[in-house]
């Protein structure tokens, strides 16, 4: 619904601006802090405007190993990227196939399988962290990418959402494909995947951010700086013992850590908004 009243328009825009400002303020403060030198930061209250140490701060973080971490931020970002991509792609691949099996195939204990998957919704990593650690340690996967990715790769949420979507596909479509000679794999590739494009794009964004933001699990299983992720490193930068906290490093790393998720959202948003506008079904 659209109201054509100028006063209302103005008020809502004002409200919108205030809201945006409130959300943007911390990000802005972090950004300005990341552009000052350490001595600057400790001499003054939180700066509201950019300083002159920005370039050197960022260049240092990217090129040199950060003190207290033992690796540079680029490496941290790469690690996080591998983990987040692995989790997002893995989750989607697995739940796509799981939902496909549950919706389109008749096999014994089909319902049971579905409910088993569904119940795991109530078992996030934090709940099962000790046994999972035990398993991963026994498999010698501590300090490795598979160790970071595999325990997080199954997703009841994605399976459930894709199942709900598959259920809306008219059975005649499946039958028409059968008559057209499309076997199960062909049907998946030629019909189901193209039709779930927008759902997959949306899930990818959610799952990527979920993977990127993982904290507890990577913290637990990585001791080697080569596998440290950027989100975990933030906390580690803060624990300096008696020394002063290098706020310019912390905030600059935080700014860099925000980059990839924002990028993914911007890239994917185009894709799924387009899909939502021109509905395919």
């Amino acid at each position: 619904m659209r109201y054509q009243r100028p006063g209302l328009d103005l008020a809502s825009h004002l409200l919108l601006a205030v809201g945006c400002g409130l959300f943007f303020l911390p990000v802005w403060l972090a950004f300005t802090a990341s552009t000052h030198s350490m001595s600057d930061l400790y001499a003054n209250v939180a700066p509201l405007w950019v300083g002159d140490a920005g370039l050197s701060n960022y260049a240092r973080l990217i090129h040199d190993p950060v003190s207290g971490l033992g690796t540079d931020v680029l490496r941290l970002l790469a690690n996080s990227m591998v983990m987040a991509l692995g989790i997002a792609v893995g989750k989607i691949a697995i739940s796509l196939l799981a939902a496909y099996a549950i919706v389109f195939f008749r096999f014994p204990l089909r319902r049971l399988c579905f409910w088993l998957i569904f119940i795991t919704l109530m078992l996030p990593v934090e709940v099962r962290i000790l046994p999972t650690y035990e398993v991963v340690a026994d498999l010698h996967l501590l300090d490795s990418y598979p160790g970071l990715i595999l325990p997080l790769i199954a997703s009841a949420t994605a399976t459930f959402l894709l199942r709900q979507f598959y259920l809306t596909i008219p059975p005649e479509l499946v039958e028409a494909a059968r008559i057209d000679g499309a076997g199960p794999w062909r049907f998946l590739r030629d019909i189901l995947l193209p039709l779930s494009k927008t759902n997959i794009a949306a899930l990818f964004v959610i799952m990527f951010i979920y993977g990127w933001n993982q904290y507890l699990w990577p913290l637990l299983i990585t001791t080697n700086a080569d596998y440290l992720t950027v989100v975990v490193s933030l906390k580690r930068l803060l624990t300096t013992g008696d020394a002063l906290v290098p706020w310019q490093d912390v905030t600059a790393t935080a700014m860099l850590a925000m980059g990839p998720p924002v990028l993914v959202i911007l890239l994917m948003q185009r894709y799924f908004v387009k899909g939502l506008v021109e509905t395919e079904k």
């Binding site: 479509l173 039958e175 028409a176 059968r178 039709l195 395919e280």
Partner: protein
């Protein structure tokens, strides 16, 4: 190109419900068979077992003499047109038609040529790049037909393909289907619940009821000699009037006490049903002489439905619970409350036993083909 043979075909669904109780049917090469019947009688089930979308519980299905019970739909060389078209929403019209050919490994050039030829045939040439959602209902319907035709299958199966179209388009597509089927000479089975569609399209008509074939024959044969009371009531619109009658010697006693002479051979006292179509009740004018044979019924008109060329009169006959439906000429002056004198001709009436089967014995002269 293909003959189709169904022998004692039975279908029991997983939940134990028997939807087909042994269907026998032989479809000739190039014939268009129309299956009609009330909702839930198993029409779609029958079609889907032919397509291979449902398994056959028992009995045999052969195409060109080859048993196909165990074959996958794609291996049966059939094409099906669905009621909701079931076009692939993300593919262009061209790809929709080409998909089945691609899966069969037909060379690209052949696919292009065949799809273009089919598009030409169906007047779809300008739409080949469109997505289904950019098409009107009638165009979608034609694409669905095209997808079936382009495959050059042995058998076409149609499940109520026109029921999502408006009345005018339906008539147009009906003619088009008829024209295409005659031209391509592909053996076809067509399911519908629309009487007109059934009568006009069918080479032969199959009337189904509760998972059984009630009768199979040309549309006119079914109209003129319905084998059961069910077929009599189902074919023809408005439906046939049924009067309970009892046998008294040589005669049948009508509900209002009137009598009708019929050939002998009926068991005295037995309760039968006499059927007469609305168009076969002849309204006699004042002073008309009563024709030889038959009986005259008096009925009071309770309601009139003018249809233009005809007028339907719903009239109350003594001793009958339902209203008698009579088809009168459009100019007939009958008003509500007027009394009609209706002549019931023995040649034009049908007799059914208490098992609802047709009793043929009484008929003195065979009926001729024209409508009354």
């Amino acid at each position: 190109m293909a003959t189709l043979q169904l022998s004692a075909l039975q279908k029991r669904y997983a939940n134990g419900f028997v939807a087909l109780h042994g269907v026998d049917l032989a479809v000739e090469d190039g014939e268009l068979i129309v299956i009609v019947g009330p909702s839930g009688c198993g029409k779609s089930t029958l079609l889907r077992t032919l397509a291979g979308l449902e398994s056959i519980t028992s009995g045999e299905l052969t195409i060109n003499g080859r048993r196909v019970n165990e074959l996958e739909p794609a291996e049966r060389d059939i094409a099906m047109v669905f009621q909701n078209y079931a076009l692939y929403p993300h593919m262009s019209v061209f790809d929709n038609m080409a998909y089945g050919l691609k899966n069969r490994g037909v060379p690209k050039d052949d696919i292009r040529r065949r799809v273009n030829a089919t598009a030409e045939l169906l007047d779809l040439g300008a739409l080949l790049d469109r997505r289904p959602r950019q098409l009107s209902g009638g165009q979608r319907q034609r694409v669905a037909m095209g997808r079936a035709i382009v495959r050059e299958p042995q058998v076409f199966l149609f499940d109520e393909p026109l029921s999502n179209l408006d009345a005018k388009l339906r008539v147009q597509m009906r003619l088009e289907i008829r024209r295409l089927q005659k031209r391509l000479k592909v053996t076809s089975v067509y399911v519908t619940h629309d009487q007109t569609e059934a009568m006009t399209l069918a080479d032969r008509l199959v009337v189904m009821n509760a998972g059984r074939v009630e009768q199979c024959g040309t549309p006119m044969a079914l109209y003129e000699r319905p084998a059961t009371r069910f077929v009599a009531g189902f074919i023809g619109s408005p439906a046939m009037n049924f009067l309970p009658v009892t046998v008294h010697g040589e005669r049948l006693r009508l509900p209002d006490g009137g009598e009708l002479t019929l050939a002998a051979g009926l068991e005295a006292g037995s309760a039968l049903t006499l059927g007469v179509r609305p168009e076969h009740l002849v309204a006699l004018d004042e002073g008309d002489a009563t024709p030889e044979g038959g009986a005259v019924i008096q009925a009071t008109v309770e309601m009139i439905e003018p249809l233009g060329a005809d007028t339907l009169a719903y009239a109350r006959m003594e001793g009958l619970d339902e209203l008698l439906v009579v088809r009168l000429h459009g100019e007939h002056a009958a008003g509500e409350g007027s009394v009609l004198r209706l002549w019931l001709s023995p040649e034009r009436s049908h007799l059914f036993g208490d098992d609802d089967r047709r009793i043929e014995a009484h008929r003195a002269t065979p009926v001729t083909g024209s409508r009354g």
